[in-house]
Symmetry: C2
Subunit: 336 residues, 2 copies
DNA sequence: CTGAAAGCGCTAACAG
DNA sequence: CTGTTAGCGCTTTCAG
């Protein structure tokens, strides 16, 4: 194995000069830098990661904790992970993969052994048990999602309130005057993340602002429940022409139910959703939707961590703006 | 930060004794072990990963290289990754996540800097450009899939030949006498992995053995192609009652085509597939299938690496036995 | 702008 | 069964 002293000897400089030439932490004359770089290339020198970590107390590794819970859309997790790895590499860092299963002990382990410099946690719950631990660790972290009480921590996620608003604005622009939100199952509004409530807030704010008639309907994640909600909507809001769906599991059954009840999408009813693009694209009638921007969340999460590692202050909360993709399921209201 | 000398002093022993108590690499009297463990717990000692790696030349980290190519089923990759992490943890190792995108340079980097002790590569191609590199690295690796020339390397995958056989045996046992294989697109038989040919070999061997009439049909990954193949099958093999599908993309369209042509599944035609369970389960008629056992592949891959790291010899090729899950798409042949 | 040298915290001979 | 000690390869003061 070729080491820094070998390079130093070969280049006719001291080991520290090689180190500084590599890190750029102090000025090196152009000429010596050239010599050092040539020697490095010629000898095929690679600094030993462990030695580096020991001497510098920086491993240049980030931990990424991925969820295992069912009900989480796998491609979204994967997209996010890839984006974290790619961005981390741009900043000369690697990524250690941990599963939620490892729990708090796993986080403590990789942090306390200095195996990683910082942590990224996905799928953060409202009352996440890892919050106190994160606060106590001596390394920075970023959470995807917003817990109930995030003081002193750093969070990032899609701006779900704005997403709810954007769906409504889209429908309003198309001329729709009576709209409904079909939301997550009731239990989601209690535990889990706060995003469900946020969507409702945004939806309501926007319908009020635009003077639209509106209702909100939590919905179980079962086709039968979708059917019931569809029937109820038609019964209670016969003038309904726009629907926002924030519930991946019932999006397809809901549209099926509407069509079976004699409503064409988008002819009679425009439908927009907050769901992964994959799902929105794959339906019989591709659905106008707002996706969780996983790649962007991953990238931004890493960049927040890099700033924290550099000692900079970062905002506690980062909300990413929603982007709506128009597809076949929304159309201007048929104005008679 | 509490270090090994702190623990040693607290327990009234030498640092090496603490080290050996932790590693078990030499006998320690029950009594001192107790004292050391108590001190460790009391002081909350965590060995520094970098220092360990430097002194022992073992990082206890494995690299996992995941593919990004489209056409790879994401949940399978994820399942595999989770299984690798879980198994690695059982062996006191962590997992560094790399993307295919990093290429050969990435592999060289993590190996040469001693950031990882060993590597796992997914999605290995027949003529994978990384093969020579893997042979030249000073750390062991395991590949998921079989390249054309794997001498000196270690591979593991589903036994696709046995999978082809098992599908046929299943149909034969149900009384089917005339069967067909609908395979991958023609180009897959050329490049990519060898598994497509293996399936054909197994299929043919088993039909011969069982005295079944059979044909093989490569098929493009498009619904129209599926339709054409379905029509061709009915025209050329009117007595056909069993089909094996090894082509995720056309499984659903193919079944649709058969039904549109007046054949009930499984009433007139039994269908079995080699595809992810998720897909098989999600179809209108759940399909009897053989899945890629990703969790098992991941687990076994890690175990192979552990044996190699321990200096043991391991087989170059490991073929995992297929397991068939019966679903609604296969039934005994209607014997008039 | 560059060198010398003191660690970083741990493991593994070597010695008893 | 346990202690002493010499590194592992790098970074970073300190000194010039």
């Amino acid at each position: 194995m070729v080491k820094i002293t070998d390079v130093a000897r070969h280049a006719g400089v001291s080991p520290s000069t090689v180190s500084y030439a590599l890190s750029g932490k102090r000025p090196i004359s152009e000429e010596t830098r050239q010599r050092v770089e040539a020697s490095i290339r010629e000898l095929g020198y690679r600094p030993h990661a462990g030695a580096r970590a020991l001497a510098s107390s920086r491993s240049n590794v980030l931990a990424l904790v991925v969820p295992l819970r069912t009900g989480i859309h796998v491609p979204v997790v994967m997209q996010f992970a890839v984006s974290v790895v790619t961005t981390a590499r741009r900043h000369d860092h690697d990524v250690l993969l941990l599963t939620q299963e490892e729990g708090e002990e796993g986080l403590r382990r990789v942090a306390d052994t200095a195996l990683v410099d910082a942590l990224i946690l996905m799928d953060v719950q409202l009352d996440d048990p890892r919050l106190p631990l994160l606060r106590s660790l001596d390394r920075p972290s970023v959470m995807i999602g917003f817990p109930a009480e995030a003081d002193g921590l750093t969070c990032i996620d899609l701006d779900f309130k704005a997403a709810g608003e954007l769906c409504v604005e889209h429908l309003a622009q198309l001329g729709h005057r009576v709209v409904a939100l079909v939301g997550s199952p009731p239990e989601v509004y209690v535990r889990q993340t706060a995003f469900a409530q946020r969507v409702v807030q945004g939806f309501t704010a926007a319908t009020d602002r635009n003077g639209l008639a509106s209702t909100v309907h939590p919905c179980e994640a079962a086709p039968a429940a979708a059917r019931r909600v569809a029937e109820q909507l038609l019964r209670e809001q016969p003038a309904l022409t726009g629907v926002v769906v924030h519930n991946e599991a019932v999006l397809e059954p809901l549209i099926d139910a509407f069509e079976q009840l004699g409503l064409r999408v988008p002819g009679d009813l425009s439908v927009t959703a907050i769901c992964p693009d994959e799902l929105a694209e794959s339906l019989r009638v591709p659905v106008t939707s707002i996706a969780l921007p996983s790649a962007e969340v991953g990238e931004r999460a890493v960049e927040l961590l890099m700033r924290k590692l550099a000692g900079d202050d970062v905002p506690e909360a980062t909300l990413l703006p929603p982007r709506l993709t128009r597809r076949a399921s929304t159309a201007p209201r048929d104005t008679p």
